[in-house]
Symmetry: C2
Subunit: 493 residues, 2 copies
């Protein structure tokens, strides 16, 4: 197993009248690597370095498809960076590619958010004003997180020889400065599926200019490299039985697959759980309410916040808890309307339920917000059901059910089942997948030949557009009910 960029410890045979091989071939034959490409600049430096080091060197090579590229003639250290670029958040981790150990991880807000919270508004910005500004923004962000990781570890950025990036299709295009104008319009055509291996210098990334940059390929405008990276990290393409991966954001993305086939269904899921649904919505950060219980009699609220901080908002798992508790305790009915009961406040703008009110924040929920949530949960559930049904599968056929994202680690699965968001299958089948996209990027960083497996995954994927599916449109309205207009479907669907 070779990392994407790897070094060798070589003692080249010394030139002699019986061994007149040229420096480059002496190096590649000693390294026993076929099809090595040596950039002209390194060819120019090679004779001097070889002789200064008496032909004992530690060259760094990069896997770049069928060919291997010489990245540096002699380096003691080889580090690499894996990155997940989310629409909102960038997460990067630093690896020592000699020991294959993860050194550290950092995250930051995607600097592109100033051009719009969602990817669609950023694409529109790029279409009217050019993609350069958005490219500079994301690269600036990457460079600040990379240099921060490197500084903390006392590493110089020229010692970074590999960068892997997983992100959705539009984000990868913006990173590479590619035209996004055909992505959001019918028939949704990206510029490229597999962007090939690039050099850090081509993108002005804070790394060795020769460093290999691998951007995960996409399988279409709505099946990004982040999903493919997730499939790789979870091994869904090698599973022995049907496996599901869901990632609920602005788009509900659902992967169903196993070793012989992979289907990805996607469609606008309505507003994101963590942002768009609730005025008080926030990401899973300190101060976010992630756990809610409501007293069955008094309807008083007990909650927990991340870091036990003062409550500042409510994150995805908190939203699910809240809706489930409101429904279980009879505060809302199966259509998400407030009943006249303790804890419900009448206002000019309609009824409200107050979760908590402090000097700093008021966290409450309206019928409009509940309705937003119901649209999201209905879209997700229906997409999954319709996709499985089209494959001749039911919920009982699912062997493992991965829940990606911040939601995965925090959600109480029984609550999500109770409101019909997730199917009613044994809870032990549900597995949090955390940041499976970053995990896939890390996996490829430490095992470069996996790019072949990634291409296999890409070619295995069949995409299903769910929004325009007639079955979806037929079933969606029933799923707006709590838990469902036809609850039997939750178990037997």
């Amino acid at each position: 197993m070779k990392p994407l960029s790897f070094s060798l410890d070589l003692k080249l045979p010394l030139p002699s009248p019986d061994d007149k091989r040229a420096d480059v071939e002496r190096l590649s034959e000693t390294a026993a690597i076929e099809d090595i490409h040596v950039p002209l600049e390194l060819m120019r430096a090679l004779p001097t370095v070889l002789r200064e080091k008496n032909f004992a060197i530690k060259p760094v090579f990069g896997i770049t498809g069928p060919c291997t590229r010489l990245l540096e003639i002699d380096s003691e250290q080889v580090f690499g960076i894996a990155i997940d670029i989310g629409t909102t958040n960038i997460v990067a981790s630093l690896f020592d590619l000699k020991s294959l150990k993860k050194i550290s991880e950092k995250s930051m807000t995607n600097p592109q958010t100033v051009y719009g919270d969602d990817i669609l508004s950023r694409m529109h910005f790029a279409m009217s004003r050019g993609a350069e500004e958005l490219q500079r923004a994301v690269i600036g962000g990457l460079n600040s997180i990379i240099t921060s990781l490197a500084d903390d570890a006392k590493i110089k950025t020229p010692e970074l020889f590999a960068v892997t990036v997983a992100s959705n299709t539009a984000m990868t295009h913006l990173l590479l400065g590619l035209d996004v104008s055909n992505i959001p319009v019918e028939p949704y055509i990206p510029v490229v599926h597999s962007p090939d291996f690039l050099k850090a210098g081509e993108l002005d990334l804070a790394a060795n200019p020769e460093a290999v940059v691998y951007a995960f390929p996409n399988a279409g405008s709505y099946v990004g490299g982040d999903i493919i990276s997730g499939i790789l990290s979870l091994g869904i393409h090698k599973a022995e039985a049907p496996t599901v991966l869901i990632d609920v954001g602005t788009n509900a993305e659902i992967v169903v697959g196993m070793k012989d086939w992979l289907f990805v269904g996607a469609g606008a899921a309505g507003p994101a759980l963590e942002g768009g649904i609730f005025n008080a919505g926030m990401r899973a950060q300190p101060g976010a309410i992630y756990r809610i219980d409501i007293d069955p009699v008094t309807h008083g609220v007990r909650y927990k916040t991340i870091g036990d901080a003062q409550p500042a908002g409510i994150c995805g798992s908190g939203v699910i808890d809240l809706i489930a508790e409101l429904f279980e305790k009879g505060i809302i009915d199966s259509m998400g309307r407030f009943r006249e009961t303790a804890g419900v406040i009448r206002t000019e703008n309609g009824p409200l339920f107050v979760v908590v009110r402090t000097e700093r924040a008021t966290i409450e929920v309206s019928e409009r917000e509940i309705n937003n949530f119901l649209r999201s949960k209905a879209a997700m559930f229906t997409s999954l059901h319709v996709l499985l049904k089209s494959l001749g599968l039911g919920f009982r056929d699912i062997d493992r059910f991965y829940i990606a994202g911040a939601l995965g680690s925090g959600v109480r699965v029984r609550k999500a089942i109770g409101i019909g968001m997730l199917p009613d299958i044994p809870v032990e089948k549900y597995i949090p997948a955390n940041n499976s996209s970053l995990s896939g990027a890390e996996l490829l960083l430490t095992n470069g030949e996996l790019y072949r497996e990634v291409e296999k995954i890409r070619s295995m994927i069949t995409y299903r557009e769910m929004n325009t599916d007639t079955e979806f449109m037929k079933e969606f309205p029933d799923a707006l009910f709590l838990p469902h207009l036809n609850p039997d479907i939750l178990t037997n669907g």
Copy 2:
């Protein structure tokens, strides 16, 4: 058969809800080319060009080893340049790579000659003052010949998508800006044998910056790409019987080979026939005497000049004619010393024979000059004989005998045999090879996949250093005689 850079006339299927392939993959799949590399800059331009042209384009691709590179998205014309860079002379030809027709050819003096007539003095210049100046000189020369060829044919240099270059090892290194300091010193190590496929932009060549540049590989410091190119063009590596190729310059380079094996012998041959031997020596240009007959009685000289111009000097084939006639007509003895006979003039500096004396030029020959020549012819003949003998072959085993360079087309083989320069085999076995090095570069330009065959040739070659060979040193003195101290060897050796 595909040229090194080739265009296709493609109508890509239009994107549709049933065909959502990305632009890059739509292009490569329609072109039916595996492992296409699309540079980032072209990826950025692709969506716009495709849609402007309604998906009907003429993309240009370059063969760059196992991978194929996209060079231009849409171009009506595809031209290429083949170049032979000699130490003294640069010859280049322009090809239309769509029709595979040669358009024109030009030659010029290598601008590096101001840094020294021979390659060794240029290497010393590079070693003391850096290689950049010599690189700039040769690239300046190439660019002036390329733009001149392009201008005459009314072609824009960005329409040049391929350049092939054959030259000796040191010259190729100087062209690429590589360190030559280990080439002229034991054990004679080049930086690289196969420099891989480069881009014109990397070398600042006057062509499309993405154009594929292929420099023929070398098989050592004294077996250059020019020899390998010559072997390719003459098909020696595929011959059914032993074949010889000689190229007599500053170094006597001798190839002996056939389909299963290739031997190259080289060694300093003494001064070049066309330059260093005679004060009146010159290259085969208008005014050069190339044919000489001496009256057996009066010793009066009849000569012919190239272009029937006023005599300005004497070229290689003229030198051979002159020595042969002087020897045949008894004007010099078998040791190259002048006899006391008509036409021989005694001077303070020793005897002379005057070929022609006009108002503009005096063309004469001294014993010192004859001695220079005898050293060259002895080195060449002995190298050939010793190399063949070491392979268990004699002259009668030679099936074809190619004579490369300007010498090949002008020389009277019977005269060269008469002075023991060439072995006494049937004259019809001698074939002029002209500029076999340029021919090989042209062949590869028009049939790019031949790079695989070139690598095969390179790996087949075994190099024999002749100067230090004990057999060579034993036989060399005998070959200084006219025709040879042991004339039997000329026929039966």
